[in-house]
């Protein structure tokens, strides 16, 4: 795992390499498909990029996608610092959304200035507890957290489905499974007449806090010690189990905020297709960023861009969006492969 400080430069250049690598891979894969479909990739790219950057709407949509990516990336980065691999941000996002929905549906009469902080808290707790399940299993040395967080990803959407098909099913739109619309007081504010919402503040605040804690505090130092040499940390009296539980809870909480923001700002109700895999992409973002806060911002931007491009190519050129998913999977494989090879060689 990389560190800030002394190796900052090495990190920055490694990150630049990662950035270049992902860009090249994305451009290459899209271009191949476009050529195969008999289209001119250059023209398609120019059209797409003008669309994304050429107007306020395109750009705001990019930001909207960046919000859950940054939050779920922090959810992966934080445990990574103590050597835990949290691939469960997707499930944690769903459970954050679920608990926030419970609050929004149960307390429709509260004023917004009470309800929104409460929903935020519920979103955090929902995601946090979900991740804590994996944390406890790990701390008791029962199940490896990589496995448990991965498996919990499959359960969370099922819980959400159960509720929107069952107890929370909206009577108005009976044909389509979703919860009733939230009251206005439960809607997270948006900015600039766009879909960019207050979740952006959560994301940036999480990143700044993450950076401050890791570089400036005793807690961050203890965490880096655990990540760097758990045996020495244990022998020096650093409470590893307490860190595992706390870190997993907070990481899950941050992912839960992403879910809470999606339902309260974007959807306005709980739906089943809440996330197009934000949690997984966030994990990728965090790995490529080497868990660095600045890296998470740039990588989130890049991945938001890739998925926007994928969207637009689907609409304008008929390139299936699944390409984006395949691309992400390929990048994930290469990144993980490179990482483990590196660690064996040294």
């Amino acid at each position: 795992m990389r560190l800030d400080g002394a190796t900052l430069w090495a990190c920055a250049s490694a990150r630049a390499k990662g950035f270049a690598f992902v860009t090249a891979a994305a451009l290459g894969v899209f271009a191949t498909l476009l050529v195969a479909a008999g289209k001119d990739p250059l023209e398609a790219y120019i059209d797409t990029l003008t669309y994304v950057f050429g107007n306020a709407y395109g750009f705001s949509e990019l930001l909207v996608r960046m919000i859950p990516l940054m939050l779920t990336a922090v959810a992966a980065a934080l445990p990574a610092r103590i050597g835990l691999i949290n691939v469960g941000a997707e499930g944690q996002l769903y459970m954050g959304a679920w608990l926030a929905t419970a609050g929004a549906l149960a307390l429709p009469d509260l004023p917004a200035f009470v309800l929104l902080p409460l929903l935020t808290l519920l979103g955090f707790v929902g995601g946090g507890l979900w991740a804590l399940v994996a944390g406890v299993l790990r701390a008791l040395r029962l199940v490896n957290e990589t496995i448990s967080t991965l498996l919990l990803n499959y359960i969370a959407p099922l819980i959400v489905s159960y509720f929107i098909f069952g107890p929370w099913r909206s009577p108005e739109t009976a044909s389509y499974p979703q919860s009733p619309a939230f009251v206005e007081a439960a809607r997270l504010p948006t900015f600039f007449h766009s879909r960019v919402h207050f979740g952006l503040v959560y994301a940036l605040a999480s990143l700044v806090l993450y950076w401050l804690v890791m570089t400036r505090t005793r807690i961050g130092l203890d965490m880096r010690a655990i990540g760097g040499n758990p045996e020495a940390a244990r022998r020096l009296g650093i409470p590893i189990i307490r860190y595992i539980l706390t870190v997993m809870f907070i990481a899950g909480g941050v992912a839960g905020l992403a879910g809470m923001a999606e339902v309260t700002a974007i959807q306005g109700r709980l739906v089943s297709e809440l996330s197009p895999g934000y949690g997984f992409i966030g994990f990728l973002v965090s790995w490529l960023a080497g868990s660095s806060a600045a890296g998470i911002v740039t990588m989130s931007f890049l991945f938001a861009l890739i998925s926007s491009v994928g969207d637009i190519l689907q609409i304008t050129q008929g390139v299936p969006y699944a390409v984006v998913n395949i691309l992400m999977a390929v990048i994930l494989f290469i990144v993980l492969g490179r990482h483990s090879v590196g660690s064996v060689a040294r």
Binding site: A6, R224, G228
Partner: protein, 514 residues
């Protein structure tokens, strides 16, 4: 014996190796002849391991030329070095623990055919093992071997791969005295076969006993090469450290501050622990340790030393019996609680057990200090620096570069970091496992002096070691640990190797356990 003027087996000229601003090696000429043991001496951080790693192709030098048998060569990787007949035995062995000795040796051979010629390799192993006193059961799992045997396998695999020159980086650091003797016999046989051997060590006695020539390094340079027959200990020390090398700085600690004598710091009452997989169970250990006393624990490592330390430090709980610290039942205290009470710990492997390689030296120095240096949510680095500077000065260690990552430190410098950190806070109980392992002669002397000083000031010290000279020098009492039990107790009148030594390997004339 090779005559002067003959082409050396290996010669390095004008070698320069920099790490950032630090010049780790600046060597005008260094040569090893066939049929000699060349000892490489030098204080901690002098650049010995760096030179060894350059010769083995692990580091690429920034400048310089290397000649093997008079021919200039490029050594870009350990593979190149092996092809040129250069072998190296690292301190932390590189055997694959789950595989057998035979597999470990066979896998190391170059151009191993797809179908391993077992009989042939086995036959060669037997032959080499017989000739060079390297006998190890080829079917044992490497991970189960004692350190001394692991080292034999390391040497064996290099020899079978065709090494004509062998570099050993502090091979005796982790060996018991008897094992060291065995190693020297092997080296003598290899020398007789015409191999060139570079032996890095801090133990002057070994150097004078088995080297033909002695090269001394200081601040990255070779400052002298001496023939063993002309070498004197004082001269070597002067070459290593400069003038007046072995003088203690006057008062290490304030002598006025004596206190705490005769208080029972540690008491174990019939303690047993089963330990986990691969650990030595402790059996019915009863002992007392008072403030103002140094109790030595002698034993060949692997007889429960680490488990014994872990038990006291709260890393392992007794299954039966009671552990008392200053009269309180501490059997179930956490590590943090034990440390908070003023217990310092020097474990047997600083890199694996006491440091985080990826953190800086400064960050490593603050680890394990509980809340002592907390300032709000952060760390009061200024106060830490001041305390640590004092601790380094008191131990006579040079101040390290606090920004360097711990992974880049030399073996001895890392041990110094751990010692300075652990001894900084006036501990009341010190549990020290092999505290002078890897330290140069002067640092060793300083550490022993400081331990005695701390004892005089009222600290209780438990010194776990297999070095009888060290134990006899500083202990007030000596216990022998054998197979997880205390086999005997000695008082200073009986501090003799012929009395203590046999008990360390299981003789039982004194069967009443203390």
């Amino acid at each position: 014996m090779t005559a002067e003027g003959e082409t050396p087996l290996l010669e390095a000229k004008g070698i320069v190796k920099r790490f950032g601003a630090l010049v780790a090696n600046e060597i005008s000429d260094f040569s090893v002849r066939g049929g000699e043991v060349l000892a490489l001496l030098g204080e901690n951080g002098a650049g010995k391991s760096t030179l060894a790693k350059i010769l083995y192709g692990y580091y690429t030098p920034d400048a310089g030329e290397i000649f093997v048998n008079g021919r200039q060569v490029e050594i870009a990787s350990p593979r190149d070095a092996r092809a040129l007949g250069i072998g190296m035995v690292f301190q932390n062995f590189t055997l694959i623990p789950a595989l057998s000795v035979f597999d470990n040796v066979a896998l190391f051979q170059k151009n191993l055919p797809a179908v391993v010629p077992r009989a042939e390799i086995l036959e060669r192993m037997r032959r080499y093992a017989g000739r060079f006193r390297l006998a190890v059961d080829p079917w044992m799992q490497a991970g189960q071997l004692a350190v001394g045997d692991q080292q034999k396998v390391e040497i064996l695999k290099q020899l079978l791969a065709g090494a004509r020159m062998l570099i050993l980086d502090e091979p005796t650091k982790v060996l018991a005295p008897q094992e060291s003797e065995g190693l020297f016999e092997t080296l003598a046989e290899l020398r007789a076969e015409g191999l060139g051997i570079v032996l890095i060590t801090h133990k002057l006695r070994e150097v004078l006993a088995c080297a033909d020539r002695i090269a001394v390094m200081r601040h990255g340079r070779v400052v002298g090469v001496v023939d063993r027959r002309e070498a004197k200990e004082e001269d070597l020390l002067a070459l290593m450290f400069g003038d007046k090398p072995m003088q203690l700085p006057p008062p290490l600690l304030d002598p006025a501050g004596r206190h705490d004598r005769g208080i029972r710091a540690l008491e174990l009452v019939d303690v047993s622990s089963s330990g986990g997989a691969g650990q030595t169970p402790l059996r019915n250990i009863s002992m007392k340790l008072q403030s103002g006393e140094i109790v030595g624990i002698a034993g060949v490592s692997g007889n429960g030393q680490r488990e014994f330390g872990d038990l006291i430090l709260g890393l392992q709980r007794p299954d039966a019996g009671i552990k008392l610290l200053w009269g309180e039942d501490a059997s179930r205290w956490s590590v943090a609680a034990v440390r908070d009470k003023g217990v310092a710990s020097v474990p047997d492997d600083p890199l694996a057990l006491a440091c985080v390689p990826g953190l800086t030296v400064r960050e490593n120095l603050v680890l394990g200090s509980g809340e002592r240096y907390s300032a709000g949510l952060g760390v009061d680095w200024r106060r830490l620096d001041a305390d640590m500077n004092r601790s380094f000065a008191r131990l006579g260690f040079p101040r390290p570069n606090l920004e360097a990552r711990a992974a880049t430190l030399s073996g001895g410098n890392l041990q110094r970091i751990v010692l300075a950190r652990e001894l900084a806070q006036q501990p009341r109980l010190i549990v020290a496992l092999y505290p002078t392992r890897g330290l140069d002669a002067r640092s060793t002397m300083m550490v022993r002096a400081l331990l005695r000083d701390m004892r005089d000031r009222g600290a209780a010290v438990l010194l776990i070691s297999e070095d009888l000279d060290e134990l006899f020098e500083v202990s007030d009492r000596l216990l022998v640990l054998f197979h997880g039990a205390i086999a005997a107790e000695f008082t200073p009148e009986d501090f003799r190797a012929d009395l203590v030594g046999p008990l360390m390997v299981g003789a039982t004339e004194q069967s009443d356990a203390a």
